[in-house]
């Protein structure tokens, strides 16, 4: 497991302020355009007209890590690409989150067998991952569910995320 996020806590730490900031951060995640392989196409489909990530504030795909706070590792991580991923992760300003999209990013997926010489089996070996989205490739709905889960993690609880668009059916009844 890569060493934990290596981000220093803010100097001024006021709970209410922190919660408010997390609320805004959660509902305006700016992912970095970072497609490695097949999952990148499903990420694009999620950003396109039908599945539309903009409904959750996560549709603004920034090309540079300096302006993004979410890295979606979408695709197979080859050994030649691993140092670049770590560089991009370190060049992202805090607070930042990482989503491992697809089986290749979770555990090497269909390409992991004992004779494999070319891939890094899993993004969590090189960057700290917050949400894992299984699937090969995961459907855009899967990616959206992963992002919703990440938003709940950021605001530390679904009820606290007042901007959340989709209530789980169980809660809505109560």
């Amino acid at each position: 497991m890569a060493e934990k996020k290596l981000t220093y806590a803010p100097l001024v730490h006021v709970a209410a302020l922190e919660h408010m900031l997390n609320l805004f951060r959660a509902n305006s995640l700016w992912p970095m355009t970072f497609g490695l392989a097949c999952c990148a196409i499903e990420m694009m489909a999620a950003g396109a007209s039908r599945f539309d990530l903009d409904r959750f504030g996560a549709g603004v795909f920034r090309p540079s890590p300096r302006q993004s706070d979410l890295m979606i590792v979408a695709g197979t991580i080859s050994k030649k690409m691993a140092p670049t991923i770590v560089t991009l992760w370190e060049q992202m300003p805090a607070p930042k989150w990482c989503v491992a999209m697809g089986n290749c990013a979770i555990s090497g997926g269909p390409f992991e067998y004992d004779g494999q010489y070319a891939i890094v089996p899993g993004a969590d070996l090189i960057v700290p991952v917050d949400v894992y989205i299984p699937g090969c490739p995961p459907r855009p709905e899967g990616l959206i569910q992963g992002l919703l889960l990440l938003q709940d993690m950021i605001t530390k609880g679904e009820k606290r995320n007042v901007f959340r668009r989709f209530q789980r059916r169980a809660e809505k009844g109560r």
Partner: protein, 126 residues
């Protein structure tokens, strides 16, 4: 210092302070309440994830500079149009319109001049 002068100076001072706070404020706020990321590569310049090769302090062609100049001219020009937009069609519609057209017309002479001088088509240097 007569009374009104002091009061006018006060407006200027307030405006100045507001500008400084507006500019420096977010920097300090984000430094205080936002966390800071760490990592060896954090300070390096971002170049699609690759280490940069050689330095970027090289001599560029002058066309870049002239491009910037023309942009600057029109950027400042927009600055002057804000008050015009506020005071537009308060009775003298034709006059305002003619004045704005003249203003922009003279400024766009700069572009015509640059165009004629061939700044916009990049010469091939082999």
């Amino acid at each position: 210092m007569p009374e009104e002068a002091l009061q006018d100076l006060l407006y200027v001072a307030v405006f100045l302070v507001a500008a400084v706070v507006f500019a420096v404020g977010p920097l300090i706020a984000s430094w205080l309440i936002g966390g800071r990321s760490a990592g060896a590569k954090r300070e390096e310049t971002y170049e699609s994830g690759m280490p940069t090769i050689g330095s970027a302090w090289v001599q560029f062609s002058v066309a870049y500079y002239i491009f910037a100049l023309i942009f600057l001219a029109f950027d400042v020009d927009v600055l002057y149009l804000f008050p015009v937009a506020l005071a537009y069609d308060k009775g003298f519609v034709i006059r305002d319109f003619v004045e704005v057209v003249m203003f922009i017309g003279i400024l766009s002479l700069a572009i015509v001049y640059a165009w004629r001088k061939g700044v916009f088509n990049w010469q091939r240097r082999s």
